[in-house]
Symmetry: C2
Subunit: 101 residues, 2 copies
């Protein structure tokens, strides 16, 4: 039977966020917004969810006088991402199974 997919990661925007963060040391809100093309609101919500799950760490600081939100993936996030990819591959490696009657 096909494995269950982590619902937190099986979302286009959250997956994009994780994918981007997996490739860099850290990324701020605007970078993520540019790269994903998401609206601020949607991005804010999805960052929150990933953060609450402990998949990413969010740091709120300042760049000069302007607020600045920086995200980075956590060890837990890396692991979840890896698991998700592993599961997903079972779906997309269109299987050579026996016949289905």
């Amino acid at each position: 039977m096909l494995p269950k997919l982590d619902p937190l990661l099986h979302s286009e925007l959250r997956l994009a966020i994780m994918s981007i963060l997996a490739g860099v040391d850290e990324a701020d809100f605007n970078y993520l917004k540019e790269q994903t093309g998401a609206t601020s609101g949607n991005l804010s919500v999805q960052i929150d969810k990933l953060s609450e799950a402990g998949y990413i760490a969010v740091e709120k600081g300042f760049k000069g006088k302007m607020p600045r939100t920086t995200c980075r993936v956590t060890a837990k996030g890396v692991e979840a991402f890896r698991d998700y990819v592993k599961s997903l591959k079972k779906y997309i490696s269109a299987g050579k199974k026996s016949s289905a009657q």
Copy 2:
């Protein structure tokens, strides 16, 4: 920028259906139900959506006197699945990109 994922395929159950159908010639309702672990209702709805999109062909016949629904993937479905996998790979190949400031 990361590509958009086909929302019809980016659903756990619909993806499972497509994944199963990609590996076999045809599969009936019950086989899909067993393999996916889905409820009849959910399966029925998702088969309809895939069918309406032209990703699968649904044939209703009889096995003896009992109704029997058989599904197979269409050329369009194969293509959509291939495209989806291609897009998805860009998400899950956690990229070595430049720095994110």
